[in-house]
Symmetry: C2
Subunit: 336 residues, 2 copies
């Protein structure tokens, strides 16, 4: 075993993942497609701690709470099983976006952890196996293993992984309208949807249709069609979520105003299309040449960042190690 | 035959009507329930015009356009068929809300026309038959025949009518946020939903469940449950409509802000629940004692009116006749 560091980036789905076919294996009810970004990365160092009784997680310079630590420990059990080892580890992770702000850090987090932990345990996994492993931590993490546009095949445990597909170059404008922690977690909302929404079965079957159309549009470099599917599928997901009992609304009035502003920009010749995950932030895809002008136009709605397609999860050198949290000594996780 | 005048009021559905089982007979895919209001009435006078070659419609003091005239003429054919007569008529109608502003005038319009025309043609129809007749003009018009809370049974041509049900007293706060004519008509949006939404079959089957629960809640005078179903079903309908291809969003950012403000009022102990039809206006049901305070609270969002349960469609005396449009002579419909 060795100390390793890996980096991964969040992804924003253009064909959404919402609903599991298997909670334990984290198999999705339908396939999805997303853009891995070049901003908001998570960097994670895994330090072998063979003497420790439990895994320890330091998150953004502080010891994590027991719930978070338990979640990564359960994930690390999969890695230990693959490696045939029992060793505990110290995980030091640093996010460049606020946790829970709507830009999920769980995807970049588990993609980076899977990549670092697999190397720390000397596992020789290819990209597909790494994607399957990351999936066990958080479904959408399997997509952050792959660079740029990535399709996640639904499948079974063996065949449920993500891989990059060809797509036209594009930019994404992330409009952060609210950094408050959301009231309902994605995980809980997803469960509630499957249990209470009369729209759920229609959602699942139609998502597979959309995914097929989307992969074809990506391959044909048809940006307009990619955009239409993106916006339509996002509104459909929020319509679905709004149909739960009790209803959940993740979009707020500002989110809707951004969707309106983007639709208006289209009327002025800027091809741009909106999407939103389980929170009020809006992500807008646009051709590279239109990105700055549209970002300026949307800057009144919140904090605006223009991002592009980013790399898949990858290992870094020792120079990039996440430093120990203040007040802890590496490998022990003792704290004040 | 004789000249007759009738009045009817709009209704706002608490269990929504969205989707037809039969376009020709206007049979709904599922039952619905609404509150007939005591404001925003339509008053309609029907004048026999046995010498005229076509029906003539004067709407709010002007000759109507050919599309509107044709729609009432097709409806009047049903009345003529019931009466076994061929006579054309002059219809003079006056609305107290702007046409197409989201508070549908088609329900009050066809309820008033059905009531006036049936009397003009000396038909002896009971409330149930009148409701069935009004339905042929516009589905939701069958509910405006009935006073207060009314359930519209889905059924077949014979059994598809609305009738009043017992319910606790309540007020409705209508917040008019936008008087602009909407881009997509209800009729067109409803058709598009049935044709393109993967959620449609789930919507239809779950609406019948909700209607059953709603009628029970009305009978039990359980205002909280009535409110929960109302808001949940409204959000579900807009979620459904948002899932069409292309997506349709009737609610605007202000509509969503009103839903939020009403949810916040609930946290402060005011039991109130939002709904919205195929437009951005929001209607909020509330107990009578809370109505004025909540209306004050919502007055920043648009024009606010507190209304209550209103009467069913009814005949008026000759004193209430709608006067002829300026520049026309009754019975001829000539115009400058």
């Amino acid at each position: 075993m060795r100390t390793t560091t890996a980096r991964a980036y969040p992804n924003i789905a253009l064909v959404k993942y919402w609903g599991k076919a298997d909670e334990e294996l984290i198999l999705p009810a339908a396939g999805s497609l997303s853009l891995t970004l070049d901003h908001f990365e998570t960097t994670t160092t895994v330090v072998p701690a063979p003497e420790a009784a439990t895994d320890v997680l330091e998150l953004d310079g502080s010891l994590a709470d027991p719930g978070q630590t338990n979640r990564i420990s359960v994930f690390l059990d999969h890695v230990r099983e693959l490696a045939g080892r029992e060793d505990r580890v110290l995980v030091r992770s640093r996010n460049s976006v606020p946790t829970g702000a709507g830009l999920a850090s769980s995807a970049s987090g588990f993609a980076a952890l899977a990549t670092a932990a697999a190397a720390a345990f000397d596992l020789d996994l290819d990209a597909r196996e790494l994607s399957r492993l990351a999936r066990r931590g958080s479904g959408s993490a399997c997509r952050s293993i792959a660079a740029g546009m990535a399709v996640w095949h639904a499948g079974d445990d063996e065949s449920s992984f993500a891989e990059s597909v060809d797509a036209p170059d594009m930019r994404m404008i992330i409009v952060t309208v609210n950094r408050a922690r959301k009231a309902v977690s994605s995980r809980e909302a997803m469960r509630l949807t499957a249990e209470t929404s009369p729209f759920y079965s229609g959602w699942v079957s139609s998502t597979e249709d959309y995914l097929e159309q989307m992969v074809a549009a990506c391959s044909a470099e048809d940006f307009t069609r990619i955009g239409e599917i993106t916006e339509s599928h996002a509104l459909r997901m929020h319509g679905l979520i709004q149909s739960t009992v009790p209803p959940i609304r993740f979009l707020n009035p500002t989110s809707h105003a951004i969707f309106d502003a983007v639709a208006e920009a289209r009327e002025h010749g800027i091809k741009a299309y909106s999407t939103a995950d389980a929170g009020p932030n809006v992500a807008v895809i646009v051709r590279p040449s239109d990105a700055e002008a549209l970002a300026e136009r949307l800057s009144g709605f919140g904090d605006v960042r223009v991002v592009g397609p980013g790399p898949g999860a990858h290992l870094l050198t020792a120079a990039d190690e996440v430093p120990p949290a203040a007040g802890t000594s590496a490998g022990e996780g003792s704290h004040a």
